[in-house]
């Protein structure tokens, strides 16, 4: 979905996709209280739209039968719930100590250069969004990073061009 369309969604009202509603309802069965499905509901919406538009918050709240502030409180707490539009691919760069000690900063700067963006930004072609992430648990292969669901490491600056090419 285009960024424009998503921005429109964010302001012009929002309805949960029937499949997403069903998925959220299925999640409810795993827990004692509906609030517990909140994180998964946000992830379900995020899988469809790439991010969680503002108007999705009350929609999810209604679906779960909880208050909108409780959902927004959760949505803004967790770092992997995106409350702003992201590109088609999200790059998560591990910035924790083991990667730091194995030249993470060179990798980070190379990404900044290569993509022309800083952390928290999306490339103008809407292809990549760049974010730092907690230790990825790939410390023996630092510096490590993820592109969407794929984990890489160690990644040398020279590998970047070829690596990113795989994500159109």
């Amino acid at each position: 979905m285009s960024e424009q369309a998503d921005k429109t969604l964010a302001t012009d009202g929002f309805e949960l996709h029937p499949d997403d509603r069903a998925a959220i309802q299925a999640e409810l069965g795993h827990f004692e209280q509906p609030q517990a499905a909140c994180i998964e509901a946000l992830k379900i919406v995020q899988r469809r739209h790439g991010w969680v538009p503002d108007a999705a918050i009350p929609a999810i709240a209604r679906e779960l039968g909880v208050g909108p502030a409780a959902v927004e409180g959760v949505a803004t707490f967790y770092s992997l719930i995106f409350r702003q539009p992201v590109g088609r691919h999200v790059i998560l760069v591990c910035d924790s100590s083991s990667c730091y000690l194995t030249d993470y900063e060179m990798l980070r700067d190379a990404l900044f250069d290569h993509l022309g963006i800083q952390y928290g930004q999306t490339t103008p072609d809407n292809r990549f969004t760049l974010l730092p992430v907690c230790c990825l648990g790939a410390c023996d292969s630092g510096p490590a990073m993820m592109i969407d669901d794929d984990t890489y490491g160690p990644v040398a600056p020279k590998d970047l061009a070829e690596l990113l090419e795989g994500y159109s």
Partner: protein
């Protein structure tokens, strides 16, 4: 009890408390932020750190958070320990990292808990030299201003708003040092208790927007102990005045009533006091076709004397929003036989019945605080959040009380708030509500039934029958209702201390009889239980005790020319009955004398009008729905800043009018005499004289001061009028001085406290210095005396069970439903309340809407007799079929309970 040692000194404390509570209760100063006496501990701010020692041989000790540590016997701590003091200073330094240096322009300055605690810790040098993070603020509606940069992230706001008050639109967002407290999107805070955020917030994040527009520092305000006049609950308030206008209202602690919290109508509804269109001087109209002219006091009194002497018979119409003293002086003026309470018949029948039930059904009326102790609640025909909001907040605490019980079973102390919440999950004591539509408490209710008024009564009778087979059986009851009634009956029987709540909101004596029958049945069993009956206005209960004719009687008497003069006290009759009979009656009267502090439609009809004092300019006594007589004190003298005004208490005017009428020499009356007269005349009001100290009461020869001792600018504040500073008005009515001179301390037992201040404590947290223990009762006893106690158990089961409600073809039963914002006469005249009031509309069940071929937002005509009223319509699937709901205060000509025809407005469908 337990003995703890603080810096070597032994203290007897309650072992159920945590160490912070225990220390504060003993008067020790220990700084804190996230803890709140009504909300318990969460251990977030780390400000109340002390050193705890294992035993008397331990000299090292470990740093401990007092709020998270039980006050167990033989606990040894040090507040003064250097390491503890240093750490507490550090906490302030951390909090100050992002806190702006804006005290001089911050509205919280001077009554800021953060300021107090900063001074208390001694932190006074900033070492942090980097950028501060900043936030964007939100528009939170007409009541609350938002300045997030000041936030110290104590989480009190969300804990009050969500956990305590049940709100859902305010939250904590973000993480790390970027936590944001606000709404999930810009917009008006939905909770009717949002105003408490201004006191719960320890700094200036949430401030009173009605105050912003006319801001004055706390130390520059003059205060008086007051009673909220905006409903019958009788919350104690602390209004603050400067330059002749009320600038804000804050909570005044009463350990038996409202304790720490108010509703938003009470806090923000004071604007009518400051209205520019208020009557300020007596006015006289030569004939009804001429414009009124101003009169001097003497001339006005002479006119009044003449008018009354010339009259054959004078009717007095009193008011449930005026004080007992004023009503009594009116009654003296016109004679008991000519006195009407000013309450319309339908409501008056309920008022009388409620008093009878309170005396005879065998259950006592709980104090507001005691409401929280019940373990099952049955609410019949009231939406408490709309009709007595503060009671609704207490009922919520009663429901949540189960969580304390569950926690107790696992050894979790009550103050461990998050742990109690975790263990409690959504458990609550049973709460059942029956009302024509959804109520504000349904979110925590075990069951709700949407019923027409007659069916609500039948439901109540069915519950009584379920409780006691001797109670009459309800005929033609369907199985579902019978089953529900049995379920409720069982829950009430299982409870140790059940509470029955009803009231006059639906003007149905049948509902009250039903509630009385439930109470009667409960009273027959072993164990405790209470009955709480909601009255409408601040002094409805008092008028009930005083007695008098109905408003209709007064109008009819005038109409039939059995009387030719009428004196109307602080009562806009057009708010109570359709205009036609009022107009007829007033047209018939030769003399219409009106006393009021508002420019009402009734005041417009006056031949002679007297400017009455509002609660802010006068003293008096009100009786709350609890039956608690409470004194409210004059906040300021209106003539000090505006010498042209001639505002006086109605009781003072009426006394003077009576003297003039009787050609007695002019002699003033003071409050003591007015109260005494009232107490002597009415046996049920005889304890009135005990509720407050006499006007000559002094503390070490001093009066109590109304203003903080730092009150500034007195010599200049009137310089635009006269450079000589006049002597402040001398209060002949009370022991309070209209100045900062006098006693303002907390070391003597205090009861009537104008404002909370103690050395080092400028914020509302200072109330804890005035109580016998934190969260307890005021050191001099809680204000007020209860007048209505059960006098034996006399009530019999009422046989008057109404027939089932029947839907009528083409007609709907009109239910005028109370509403918090806009449903009460005086607060509706305050601008922020008007902004907050919902747009006028009637509501129907969606299916009923469909039969009218009408959709949401269309205009619809309501026809009742000759009268036709047009209004927007909205669907409400919480309503039963055949009922049309209209919010109170919108269209006073329509009669509640009568049937109306509805027609779709031509051309709009």
């Amino acid at each position: 009890m337990a003995t703890i040692f603080v810096d070597g000194h032994p203290y007897e404390v309650d072992e159920q408390d945590n160490l912070l509570q225990a220390c504060l209760s003993k008067g020790l100063d220990l700084p804190y932020f996230c803890w709140h006496p009504a909300m318990g501990s969460v251990g977030a701010c780390r400000q109340c750190a002390v050193i705890q020692y294992q035993d008397e041989h331990d000299t090292e000790g470990t740093l401990t958070m007092a709020c998270m540590t039980p006050a167990a016997d033989q606990t040894r701590i040090s507040i003064e320990n250097a390491q503890a003091k240093e750490f507490r200073g550090e906490v302030i330094e951390w909090l100050m990292i992002n806190h702006p240096h804006d005290c001089p322009v911050c509205e919280e300055g001077g009554h800021c808990h953060l300021q107090d605690m900063t001074v208390m810790t001694g932190h006074d040098r900033r070492r942090y030299r980097f950028r501060k993070r900043t936030h964007r603020n939100q528009d939170l509606g007409p009541f609350i201003a938002h300045e997030m940069n000041r936030c110290i992230t104590c989480y009190r706001c969300v804990r009050f708003y969500n956990d305590y008050a049940g709100g859902e639109d305010l939250g904590a967002f973000g993480a790390n040092d970027n936590v944001y407290f606000g709404r999930y999107e810009d917009g008006t805070l939905e909770s009717p208790f949002s105003g408490n955020l201004t006191e719960v917030c320890p700094t200036g994040v949430f401030t009173d927007q009605t105050h912003s527009e006319q801001y004055t520092r706390k130390w520059d305000l003059m205060f008086a102990p007051s009673i909220c006049h905006q409903c019958a609950v009788g919350c104690n308030t602390s209004p603050g005045e400067r330059y002749g206008s009320i600038r804000r209202i804050e909570n005044r602690y009463n350990g038996s009533v409202n304790r720490y919290f108010l509703c938003d109508r009470g806090r923000f509804g004071y604007g009518y006091v400051n209205r520019a269109d208020r009557p300020l001087v007596p006015r006289w109209r030569e004939s009804r076709s001429t414009d009124p002219v101003d009169l001097s006091v003497d001339a006005a009194l002479d006119r009044a004397g003449d008018l009354l002497r010339q009259s054959r018979r004078i009717i007095g119409i009193g008011s449930p929003r005026a004080s007992l003293e004023s009503n009594h002086q009116l009654r003296l003026l016109v004679g008991a036989e000519n006195f009407s309470t000013g309450i319309a018949r339908a409501e008056w029948d309920c008022v009388r019945l409620m008093e009878t039930l309170n005396r005879e059904c065998g259950l006592t009326t709980p104090t507001l605080r005691q409401v929280e102790d019940h373990d099952a609640v049955f609410v019949l025909g009231e939406d408490l959040i709309e009709s007595a909001a503060r009671v609704g907040l207490s009922v919520r605490q009663a429901v949540l009380g189960l969580q304390f019980d569950l926690a107790g079973e696992r050894g979790i102390p009550e103050w461990n708030a998050e742990a109690v919440k975790t263990l409690g999950q959504d458990a609550g004591h049973p709460l059942y509500t029956a009302y024509p539509t959804r109520t504000g408490l349904d979110g925590i209710a075990t069951g709700h039934w949407s019923l027409a008024p007659d069916d609500i009564a039948r439901f109540g009778f069915a519950v009584a029958h379920a409780l006691d087979p001797k109670a009459p059986e309800v005929p033609d009851l369907d199985d579902a209702m019978r089953e529900a009634a049995e379920r409720i009956g069982q829950a009430l029987l299982d409870a140790h201390n059940p509470l029955v709540v009803s009231g006059g909101s639906l003007q149905s004596t049948a509902i009250l009889e039903a509630a009385g029958s439930v109470a009667h049945a409960l009273a027959k069993r072993e164990g405790e239980g209470s009955l709480l009956l909601v009255r409408r206005e601040a002094n409805t209960t008092g008028l009930g005790l005083m007695g008098g004719h109905t408003l209709e009687w007064a109008l009819e008497t005038l109409h039939h020319n059995d009387a030719d003069a009428v004196v109307i006290l602080e009562n806009d009759l057009y708010q109570r009955l359709p205009a036609e009979p009022i107009d007829t009656a007033l047209n018939m009267a030769n003399a219409v004398v009106v006393l009021d502090h508002q420019a009402t439609r009734t005041l417009d009809r006056a031949d002679l009008a007297f400017p009455a004092a509002s609660f802010a300019e006068g003293d008096g006594t009100l009786v709350s729905l609890e039956g608690r007589a409470q004194r409210f004190y004059q906040v300021y003298d209106p003539a000090y800043q505006r010498p042209q005004t001639r505002i006086h208490e109605s009781w003072r005017w009426l006394h003077a009018i009576r003297n003039n009428e009787l050609r007695h020499p002019v002699a003033d009356i003071n409050l003591d005499a007015a109260t005494e007269a009232c107490a002597m005349a009415h046996p049920s009001l005889s304890p009135l004289q005990q509720i407050a100290p006499d006007s000559d009461y002094r503390v070490d020869g001093m009066r109590y001061s109304r203003a903080p001792h730092r009150y500034s600018g007195r010599t200049a504040m009137r310089a635009n009028l006269n450079v000589s500073e006049p002597r402040p008005e001398q209060d002949t009515d009370t022991p309070f001085a209209f100045s900062m001179e006098g006693y303002y301390g907390h070391d003597r037992p205090r009861r009537d406290v104008p404002f909370a201040w103690a050395p080092g404590w400028n914020s509302p947290q200072a109330w804890n210095k005035f109580t016998d223990e934190v969260g307890g009762h005021l050191s001099g006893g809680d204000p007020g005396v209860r007048l209505i106690e059960p006098s034996g158990h006399l009530h019999r089961y009422s046989p008057n069970i109404p027939a089932p409600f029947q839907v009528r073809e083409g007609q709907w039963q009109l239910c005028i439903l109370p509403r918090l914002f806009g449903g009460e006469e005086t607060s509706s005249r305050a601008e922020p309340i008007q902004v907050r009031s919902a747009e006028p509309c009637v509501r129907l069940h969606p299916d009923d809407l469909a039969t009218l071929s009408t959709i949401e937002g269309d205009r619809i005509a309501l026809q009742q007799g000759e009268l036709t009223v047009e209004m927007r319509v909205e669907p409400d699937d919480g309503l039963p079929h055949g009922v049309v709901a209209l919010p109170a205060g919108l269209e006073t000509s329509l009669v509640h309970g009568d049937w109306v025809r509805l027609t779709t407005k031509e051309g709009t469908v």
